[in-house]
């Protein structure tokens, strides 16, 4: 059974798309004249008005002393506080009787980047860093050993703004 359909009759200027298309293109072309806001990552990693926040918590870095040795004294506080249980530490003693980390590893895959390790460290040795480019070809490369942690050069995180420690 046929259904009777009522066809509305409209004026031409009402159903023509031309006006809308031209309007859209006008907007598009007007953008050509505006300054670009797209950051050309990875060639560009920061722009005038955007950079990684200072309190960004990313891949770790172990700071070193003047002789290039890790500042860590293997006190055991960071493995204790770490909520992800991803820091492995075996303490040892060097020739001068100083306590130092024989083994120090952080599994960056398990890390939740809470920054507690940096906060608890009495020696200002371990830090979370202003860093986020972590691609690797294998999973085990994400376990950073002491050498690799010391070799990182990225800036470290400022966990809080010293002038506003309470975040107010």
């Amino acid at each position: 059974m046929a259904i009777s359909v009522k066809v509305m009759q409209r004026k031409n200027q009402e159903i023509s798309y031309l006006r809308a298309a031209l309007k859209g293109m006008a907007l598009t072309f007007s953008h050509l004249k505006r300054p670009s806001v797209t950051m050309q990552y990875p060639e560009e990693t920061k722009t005038e008005d955007w950079k990684l926040p200072e309190r960004w918590r990313g891949t770790h870095r172990m700071l070193t002393d003047e002789q290039g040795r890790a500042k860590c004294v293997a006190c055991g506080l960071c493995p204790q506080i770490c909520p992800a249980n991803c820091i492995k530490l075996v303490p040892g003693e060097d020739e001068e009787g100083h306590r130092y980390p024989l083994v120090y590893e952080i599994d960056e895959f398990r890390c939740v980047f809470c920054g507690y390790c940096q906060e608890v460290c009495p020696e200002e040795a371990i830090h979370v860093g202003q860093h986020y480019e972590n691609a690797e070809y294998s999973r085990d490369r994400f376990v950073y050993d002491l050498e690799r942690l010391c070799a990182q050069t990225h800036p470290v995180s400022t966990l809080w703004d010293p002038s506003d420690a309470r975040g107010e």
């Binding site: 004294v73 293997a74 006190c75 055991g76 204790q80 303490p91 009787g97 100083h98 306590r99 009495p122």
Partner: protein, 521 residues
């Protein structure tokens, strides 16, 4: 000390203590720990640290509670403003010289300076420009290291060496702000009980080289146990870190070892971590031992026991628990049993001369008394013409295979498999003292409990469990699931233990009935 009681009030809590008690001890009765450094219950009172100052109503000034005796009707205040201020000041003086070593200090986590500094919130000293400084570390003895910078001059170590060890090799050298702990130039801190100064030192000044950097103390689990070093039966803590025993420390028991343990006992823990353990029951098949399950191995033992008659010989290690020794006897109840234990003796006791009744004893096994009470003797010299020979836990050192060869059936129950036991018919994996609950009897007839500190590797189970399972298999008993059940079964069977129960033994143990002589069944 007369038993006349004196009533006093400490921080609003009323306590009655015998006349002659010090205020600091009376406060413990009231559940209050008055902060202190130089005072230690096991040492003579010195009164040098001034940390224990309290307010006693009526006294013109604050008094040191460690050297003040209680008096009738005394009212003592510990946590008032004035007392807290006094303690804070004492701490402030201590912190002039004390370095901020906590991150590298082994004492960190069980340090009384840390604890009280934290309690009193006195983290700073207003005077810290000229701390006195010494060489970082000095070797005092084979195991004791001295870090002079951390010392707070409480003199506990000096008093221990003077009055407990009676070998006065330590002293306070120099005076006033130059004072430090010195050692006699021709002496070393190697007295057989010297290791106790490490426990006594309230800070990380005297530390054990053996334990150095091994673990942070907050990672440790502490289990109450008994030293296996000799028949003294010192009460100890087994400190474990992730299933590894990392140190032994004395546990206070006024009736046995007071607060101390000897160095021999202290260092005797490495065997508890041994890696060469039997991990599964082994059953001889076609000339070699084959790993099997418990069911099969126990059935095999039951079969051997059932199919034999006549003589049975057992040789148990001196470290076997009473429970295991008892169920082993039960297992061979229908045999003509010769039960032996292995004894080790060393000539000459090494006493802690200033403390009565405490020495590293000649009998270097923990449970000789228990074994004798259960009818074992230490006169093993070989097996001949026995139908069954069973070894429990002995490592067979000094025993030749010929001495073991005179039995038709040979069962070995133990933790490691010595060469001489490789021709056993059945081998059952047992547990060490750190892996099971049980009891020992020390030389003074004191029955003492030890508890499990780590899990046994593989399928190891306590020997009493295995023997009870075999008895069940033979239809001569019920399964025994806990050491408490095992002990209680023994207590109702063996005269000497009559009337005792595992749960009432408590932490300090209980003496055997006076007139107990051997097994009565």
């Amino acid at each position: 000390m007369s038993e006349e009681l004196v009533k006093l009030t400490i921080e609003g809590v009323e306590v009655s203590v015998p006349r002659g008690t010090t205020v600091i001890e009376a406060a413990k009765e009231a559940g209050i720990n008055i902060p202190h450094y130089c005072y230690h219950k096991g040492l003579p009172i010195a009164g040098v640290c001034r940390m224990c100052l309290v307010q006693i109503e009526g006294a013109p000034k604050l008094q040191i509670s460690c050297a003040t005796e209680v008096a009738e009707g005394q009212v003592v205040r510990v946590f008032g403003e004035e007392e807290s201020k006094a303690r804070s000041s004492v701490l402030e003086f201590l912190l002039i010289n004390h370095p901020l070593d906590c991150p590298i200090c082994d004492q960190s986590g069980e340090c009384e300076l840390q604890d009280f500094t934290f309690d009193e919130r006195q983290g700073q000293s207003r005077y810290n420009d000229f701390p006195k400084r010494y060489d970082p570390a000095e070797q005092f003895g084979d195991d004791v290291m001295f870090v002079a910078n951390r010392c707070i001059l409480c003199t506990r170590c000096v008093r221990f060496m003077d009055h407990a060890a009676e070998e006065p090799v330590l002293n306070v050298s120099e005076r006033g702000d130059r004072a430090f702990i010195g050692m006699h130039p021709d002496a070393e801190l190697n007295h057989p009980w010297a290791g106790n100064v490490v426990d006594l030192c309230p800070v990380g000044s005297l530390i054990s080289k053996d334990f150095l950097h091994k673990a942070r103390v907050w990672e440790l689990d502490h289990t109450d146990s008994i030293c296996t070093g000799c028949s003294q039966g010192c009460n100890i803590h087994i400190d474990t870190r992730e299933e590894l025993v990392v140190r032994l420390r004395p546990r206070a028991n006024e009736d046995v070892n007071k607060f101390f343990m000897c160095d021999e006992g202290r260092s005797n823990y490495r065997w508890l971590n041994s890696g060469d353990r039997i991990e599964a029951p082994l059953v001889a098949e076609g000339g070699s031992l084959v790993a099997s399950g418990w069911d099969h191995a126990l059935a095999r033992v039951a079969q051997i026991v059932k199919g034999s008659t006549g003589d049975a010989v057992v040789l148990a290690s001196g470290k076997s628990s009473n429970e295991s020794l008892f169920f082993l006897r039960e297992l061979f109840g229908e045999f003509d049993l010769k039960a032996h234990f292995r004894n080790f003796t060393v000539d000459g006791e090494l006493p802690l001369s200033g403390v009565e009744g405490l020495a590293l004893r000649e009998e270097r096994i923990p449970n000789g008394t228990g074994a004798r009470q259960l009818g074992y003797d230490d006169s093993f010299n070989g097996v001949s013409n026995a139908s069954i020979f069973l070894i429990l836990g002995d490592d067979l050192e000094g025993i030749t295979p010929e001495m073991l060869s005179g039995a038709k059936n040979f069962i070995y129950v133990g933790t490691t498999l010595p060469e001489a036991a490789r021709n056993a018919d059945v081998v059952l994996p047992a547990t060490t003292v750190a892996e099971e609950d049980g009891t020992y009897v020390n030389r003074d007839n004191r029955v003492q409990r030890f508890s499990q500190a780590r899990t046994a590797p593989g399928m190891g189970r306590p020997a009493w469990w295995a023997f009870a399972e075999v008895l069940k298999e033979l239809g001569r008993g019920d399964a025994v699931d806990t050491a408490a059940e095992a002990f209680d079964a023994m207590a109702s069977n063996v005269g000497a233990f009559n009337g005792m129960s595992y749960s009432t033994l408590g932490k300090n143990g209980q003496k055997l009935a006076e007139s107990s002589a051997g097994v009565s069944k």
